[in-house]
């Protein structure tokens, strides 16, 4: 077993970038206001003193979810900052169901005190009220937390705004391609490059604590699996066997990493114990077995196999980290279904569904076997669920450039996240970054 900790990996053509990049993904909402709930996010008093006015970030978040239609700033009938200033009849008059108000106040210690309240306009009652103190550089993150609270109080479902997305950005610099492993906030802001290489980077996979990424790097001329702490930059090579080392997937409890190795001559699924680094083989089949993904309960894996001739999704039950019984095929529609990812509730899978030259994202309901297509351009791959299951982010292509897109699971809301230059692909939505209280 090759095991190495690289603290300062200045290998040829490869470096870690700790500095914050200027680049960010540009979000464009491309569909899905129909049926969304009207809501008023009133500008917070004093918010203009900061780079990212809270009300603007919150409005953009809620709009992106497809569940809310925030009122345009110009359409607000008033600008209350305190509960006593709200005339509910005026807000009912503009057809809004909910209103969010707030205020900011600089503290002597340099932190900002932010107070906000959410009201049900029809009944005229407060649904949430919080008072929080943060340093100025965390204002944007606070806006995501407020968005999560508003979203959860109204929909009953946990918000996923305070999350991140990892992806691979590829840019052609002169005659060479530069591969960058990036981490950004779920709204595309705050993009940071955690690894750059002249050789391909692939398959980012989040640890369940959201602090580490496992991924595949070709920096030494072939595929190898690495793990990297996104905050410290510390990296470790996890798998460097003969053949391919690919498709890392963390178990829900973080104790194991499933992966594809062809060290015995053909691609098979293995599980690595992250403490002992010991491997146990899960599949044993002459075909291709790859792209493992864990069920949220950790008791089974799904993977892609062409054992039946064409790639289809199979499910293997586990007893601990040993296979239990034989793998069961779960996709039957069409002749290309690959790279499945479980929904957080474990009831469905997002897959890449191929028909001729068209590859689209589909959701398979496991119990009924019903397959529902979610996208329609035909260049889609790499689906990844938001940790609350509300949306799926995936890679697509627009005007011959790789872009990321997100679609709500009901197919209504749709948005595109494009880089200013080059291609972006292989998005992986992070887990929740905090325990739900």
């Amino acid at each position: 077993m090759l095991k190495r900790v690289l603290l300062f990996p200045l290998l040829a053509g490869l470096w870690l970038a700790a500095s914050q990049a200027q680049a960010r993904l540009v979000i464009e909402i491309t569909g899905g206001v129909e049926g969304a709930m009207p809501i008023a996010i009133v500008p917070f008093s004093g918010e203009r003193a900061y780079d990212d006015p809270l009300s603007e970030v919150i409005s953009a978040n809620l709009a992106r979810s497809g569940r809310f239609a925030p009122l345009e700033r110009d359409a607000l009938p008033a600008r209350p900052n305190r509960a006593g200033e709200i005339d509910f009849s005026r807000w009912r008059g503009v057809g809004t169901d909910h209103i969010v108000i707030g205020r900011t106040q600089a503290q002597e210690d340099g932190e900002i005190l932010v107070q906000f309240q959410l009201f049900d306009v029809l009944r005229g009652v407060q649904m949430a009220g919080y008072s929080l103190s943060v340093p100025p550089q965390r204002m944007r993150r606070l806006a995501h937390q407020i968005s999560d609270i508003v979203y959860e109080r109204i929909t009953g479902e946990r918000g996923a705004f305070e999350t991140r997305v990892s992806y691979v950005a590829v840019e052609r610099v002169e005659d060479e391609r530069m591969f960058r492993l990036a981490v950004a906030d779920a709204d595309g802001h705050n993009e940071q490059i955690i690894l750059s290489s002249r050789q391909p980077l692939m398959s980012p996979s989040w640890s369940p604590d959201g602090r580490r990424l496992a991924y595949v790097s070709f920096e030494e001329g072939r595929s190898e699996i690495y793990m990297q702490d996104i905050n410290t930059g510390q990296r470790e090579k996890l798998a460097s066997h003969r053949g391919i080392n690919s498709a890392p997937a963390w178990s829900p409890d973080g104790r194991y990493l499933a992966m594809t190795l062809s060290r015995d001559g053909r691609p098979e699924i293995y599980i690595m114990d992250m403490r002992s680094r010991e491997l146990s083989r899960i599949t044993n089949n002459p075909g291709i077995d790859t792209e493992p993904a864990w069920a949220p309960d950790g008791r089974s894996l799904v993977f892609t196999s062409n054992r039946g001739g064409r790639p289809q999704i199979y499910q293997q039950a586990l007893q601990g980290i040993r296979p239990q019984g034989s793998a069961r095929r779960v996709t039957f529609e069409g002749n290309y279904n690959a790279r499945a990812r479980f929904s957080p509730d474990g009831k469905s899978l997002a897959v890449v569904h191929g028909e001729g030259n068209r590859f689209r994202i589909a959701v398979l309901e496991l119990e009924s076997g019903h397959l529902r297509l979610l996208t329609d351009t035909g260049h889609e791959e790499s689906p990844s669920f938001a940790p609350n299951g509300s949306m799926i982010i995936f890679a697509s292509e627009r005007h011959h450039r790789g872009v990321l897109e997100a679609v709500s699971v009901d197919g209504r809301a749709h948005q595109r996240l494009g880089a200013r230059r080059g291609d972006v692909r292989e998005p992986a939505w992070s887990p929740f970054l905090r325990q739900n209280n």
């Binding site: 692939m202 595929s223 594809t260 691609p267 291709i288 792209e291 062409n306 690959a338 790279r339």
Partner: protein, 191 residues
Amino acid sequence: MKRNQAGLVLGAVLLLALQGCSTPVREDAADVPVDERSVGVDPRMVDDGRTGVETGVFIDGEGYFEGRPIAELMEDPESVLSQRIFYFDFDSSELSADQLAALETHARFLIANPNIGVVLEGHTDERGSREYNLALGERRAQTIERLLSLQGVQPEQLQVISFGEERPAALGHHEEAWRLNRRVELLYSGY
């Protein structure tokens, strides 16, 4: 394809000499000074002193293949080794029959040059999922590996690497680019 006439004649002389002479001609190829223009034929003639027949020694090993310097063969787009990319159908790792002859030439070359290694680099087009394609690229390279091994190439000479869809030969999102990208490239060490 050009052939060196002198080489053919000398080859024939060598054959006659071997048939008519009980003493085998032995030469250490490494010791033979080779003029690049001699195209594999040792310019020195050996007189065994009894028959008066001059025999030529045909060098075909170090640095040469089928009468031509390897470096030159690798450069020449008309040469027998010029086809170093083999193509595949979508989601397939089977080599079509019309490409087998070209691969056999590579097998002969590798058998004749056991010190030369080749990297078999498998690739796919962009369609479908990336990790599956990484495995598919390896399958394609393994097909070439298996066919070369069956002809007698030593396993130590062969190394399989897959890049999946990560290193396309042709850019573009259409069948012509895809066709060029579903491939295994033979990369000879040192050439």
